[in-house]
């Protein structure tokens, strides 16, 4: 257990090993580790960014969807309005037409009725004159009393 030159030899051996480690062993391993560390942190950051942009895209997508839905609803509303307007218009027209037809029909009926009444009056007055002639025994001639007859017919 003497102290001898072993001590110096060991000191030199140690310096040699440390030098080898310093020059050839440590730096390449450390650089690989640092590079990988950087890569991993870069990757994580990129993933975070991608996550963020995905969220943004999702948000934009939702907004667009909402907008499209609103537009569609508006369109449907408009279409419904238009449809009901068309139906209303058509109804109005049909009603007008019907009323017109009704009116012309009732006019025709009135005319016919008046005509018939006219005719009936004339026939009635003839019948009355005939009957009255017969009753008065030719006292009253048709020629003489034409004015009177016409007045009577107008009064009927």
């Amino acid at each position: 257990m003497n102290i001898n030159a072993t001590l110096l030899a060991q000191a030199i051996v140690m310096i040699v090993f440390v030098a080898i480690c310093w020059r050839y062993i440590y730096p390449p391993i450390l650089s690989v580790m640092q590079e990988r560390e950087k890569k991993i942190s870069d990757g994580l950051e990129a993933a975070k960014k991608a996550d963020d942009s995905l969220e943004e895209a999702q948000l934009a997508f939702d907004q667009e969807l909402d907008k499209a839905k609103a537009e569609a609803a508006e369109l449907i509303d408009k279409a419904n309005q238009r449809a009901s307007q068309i139906v209303g218009d058509a109804k109005g027209k049909a009603q007008d037409e019907a009323e017109k037809i009704l009116a012309s029909a009732s006019k025709t009926i009135e005319n016919e009725t008046n005509k018939a009444k006219e005719e009936l009056k004339l026939q009635m007055s003839e019948i009355i004159i005939d009957t009255t002639q017969k009753i008065l025994d030719q006292e009253i001639s048709t020629e003489k009393h034409d004015d009177l007859l016409k007045k009577a017919a107008a009064e009927l």
Partner: protein, 302 residues
């Protein structure tokens, strides 16, 4: 001792003696009986062998763990995960102790110190007799001295070949590493603060410029104590652990069967506990290395 019957004392001694090679007046030798003649210029060949072997293993593992055509795109697999985990652990520690100061040497230094010491400490978990006995038999088979005088004279039996396995139980190894850290501390102190303020730091505190000698002695003790405590802490912990393994092994070899069985259980328990010490001491050495170098980079005024 070699051919004698093994005693408790010789067993312990065998486990605590390094294979020492050095220069004697007759030339270079590894004869354990001539260690006294070697003086300072002797080397613990076993400690250095395991130290270099495990250091090379560390370099090899960390080099081969990264695939050749590596890129940041591929997910890490297998050993690469383990290697990156180690580096992340070291980076965290350096970050917390070193803060904003940028020095690319600190983290590789800390990584080397941590993994290397961890590997060296882990050798403590190999059963105490396994590798020394194996090495002894190999050495005896390869270079043992025969009756005809061939081979190496002092390897008279497998037992005469000493082979300590755990480098961190050798104070030369731990103090050697602490010494290397110490040199780096001085280098960076001078580089970052400049020689003048480094000397000023050692001489002008705590009593001001009229008591420079006193200041210097006090600061020097403080300064020298750091590497010595750093090396001795690791050595002490591992040496004690190794010692307890040896003592438990004694229960197996030198006592009755019931005590031997108890020894098995104790060995397991101590090995499990020792894993904690192995990792903890490696971590402490690393943390203190970083801390001392961080101090060398501090330029604050006292």
């Amino acid at each position: 001792m070699a051919k004698d019957v093994m005693t408790t004392e010789s067993y312990i001694n065998h486990h605590l003696t390094n294979l020492t090679c050095g220069k004697t007046p007759e030339g270079w030798t590894c004869d354990p009986y001539k260690v006294d003649q070697m003086g300072f210029w002797a080397f613990h060949v076993d400690s250095l062998f395991w130290s270099v072997f495990l250091g090379a293993l560390f370099i090899l593992i960390f080099k081969s763990a990264m695939p050749k055509n590596i890129s940041a795109n591929s997910a890490p697999t297998g050993m690469q995960n383990f290697v990156e985990m180690c580096i992340e652990f070291v980076e965290d520690n350096v970050q917390s102790l070193f803060g904003s100061v940028k020095n690319t040497l600190i983290a590789p230094l800390a990584l080397t110190v941590f993994v290397w010491i961890l590997l060296m400490n882990l050798m403590d978990l190999v059963p105490v007799d396994f590798l020394p006995v194996l090495a002894g038999h190999i050495a005896y088979a390869v270079a043992g001295s025969g009756a005809d005088g061939s081979g190496v004279a002092w390897i008279t039996s497998p037992d005469s070949f000493y082979f300590k396995v755990v480098p961190t139980t050798d104070p030369n190894i731990t103090l050697g590493m602490a010494f290397a850290v110490f040199i780096l501390t001085i280098y960076y102190s001078i580089k970052v603060k400049g020689l003048k303020s480094f000397i000023a730091e050692l001489t002008l505190h705590p009593f001001g410029k009229y008591l420079i000698p006193v200041n210097f002695v006090l600061e020097m003790v403080n300064f020298i104590a750091k590497p010595i405590s750093l090396g001795l802490r690791l050595f002490g912990n591992l040496y004690a652990g190794e010692m307890i393994f040896i003592l438990i092994a004694l229960m197996l070899f030198f006592s009755s069967i019931p005590v031997g069985m108890l020894g098995f259980g104790l060995h397991l328990v101590w090995a499990l506990f020792h894993i904690l010490i192995v990792a903890l001491q490696a971590f402490i050495f690393m943390a203190l290395t970083i801390a001392y170098l961080a101090m060398a980079h501090e330029t604050e005024e006292h």
